[in-house]
């Protein structure tokens, strides 16, 4: 709960600050808080990935970009009343939506009783892997992971073709 509150405060800082360097550093802090939170939520694999990718790689990428461009943000010219109203309306609708969601930490929800329970029971006999996340990722949903590799490959091609220097 404390970490969730800290994340909200970090977000306020990101909204408020105009120095892009501080924004990038704050988003790195946000990612580390996120990794800690995922550790508390028992998602150890996701926490490792978030700490490496979210806090490491994306911070480096953003720092590279603000090295090439400017580090200060200019004042927006339009008034921010309409975006605030739209965001508050969407937030109200989303909060209305939470009344149908299960309370935190409950174990009798549909999520825990259908496919997840099957994965937990079958992982050892069918794949022999004790880490259920690994067995689902690499075995049961292997094609999903293959699609993910294709997405990353496409993005890499896009980045290379965008940043290639024209010789002509």
């Amino acid at each position: 709960m404390i970490i969730l509150t800290l994340m909200a405060i970090t977000t306020l800082g990101i909204i408020k600050l105009r120095n892009l360097f501080s924004v990038v550093v704050l988003s790195s802090i946000y990612s580390f808080l996120m990794a800690t939170l995922l550790l508390i939520f028992d998602a150890v694999d996701v926490a490792l990935t978030e700490a490496a990718v979210g806090a490491g790689v994306s911070t480096v990428l953003m720092l590279t970009v603000i090295y090439y461009t400017k580090t200060t943000e200019e004042e927006p010219k339009h008034s921010s009343i309409i975006p605030i109203m739209v965001c508050l309306a969407i937030g109200g609708l989303l909060i209305y939506g939470t009344y149908g969601l299960p309370p935190f930490g409950a174990s009798d929800t549909p999520l825990h009783n259908h496919v997840s329970a099957q994965y937990l029971q079958r992982s050892i006999p069918e794949t022999g892997v004790p880490n259920v996340v690994t067995s689902v990722l690499a075995s049961y949903r292997g094609f999903d992971t293959l699609g993910e590799v294709i997405v990353v490959f496409t993005a890499a091609i896009g980045v290379i073709s965008l940043l290639k220097k024209d010789n002509s």
Binding site: M1, L4, A8, T11, I14, L20, V24, Y30, M34, L37, L38, F41, D42, A43, D45, V46, E50, V53, G54, S58, L61, M62, V65, T69, E73, E74, P76, H78, S80, V86, C87, I90, G91, L94, T98, L101, F104, A106, T109, L111, H112, V115, Y119, L120, S123, I124, P130, N131, V132, V133, L137, E148, V151, V152, T154, A155, A156, G158, V159, L162
Partner: protein, 120 residues
């Protein structure tokens, strides 16, 4: 009163997720700087990660690595989905940032307002 308070505590994760989500959306809509826009987009994405992971947690449960010492595990299924989402997220972020660099090379600015001024 106490039931209201316990309801609030058991839904606190959802409230914070919604706050992160709409502040990400707000940054994307209202800020003209493109790097800041991408940070807002990343905020929105990561709030969705918590939205998926937090219902998977069972109180007193443990990480889904099977062992004889434990019997109650949190659900592994959202973890798998979000592992994929994180990697796709960094791919889109890299693509967006390289677009920002190209725009800066071409027009000399990454502020949306100035870009539209040049067009007119």
């Amino acid at each position: 009163m106490s039931s209201f308070l316990s309801n609030f505590v058991s839904s606190y994760n959802y409230y914070i997720i919604i706050f992160l989500m709409i502040s990400g959306l707000y940054i994307v809509v209202s800020r003209g700087n493109m790097v800041k826009k991408l940070v807002g987009l990343a905020l929105f994405q990561t709030s969705v990660y918590i939205l998926y992971i937090s219902p998977g947690k069972i109180l007193n449960g443990t990480a889904p690595i099977l062992s004889d010492d434990f019997s109650l595990y949190s659900s592994p299924f959202p973890h798998v989905l979000i592992l994929t989402a994180i990697v796709v997220g960094i791919a889109t972020l890299a693509l967006g940032l390289s677009l920002v660099i190209r725009i800066n090379e071409e027009f000399g600015t990454i502020e949306e307002d100035k870009l539209f001024e040049d067009e007119i």
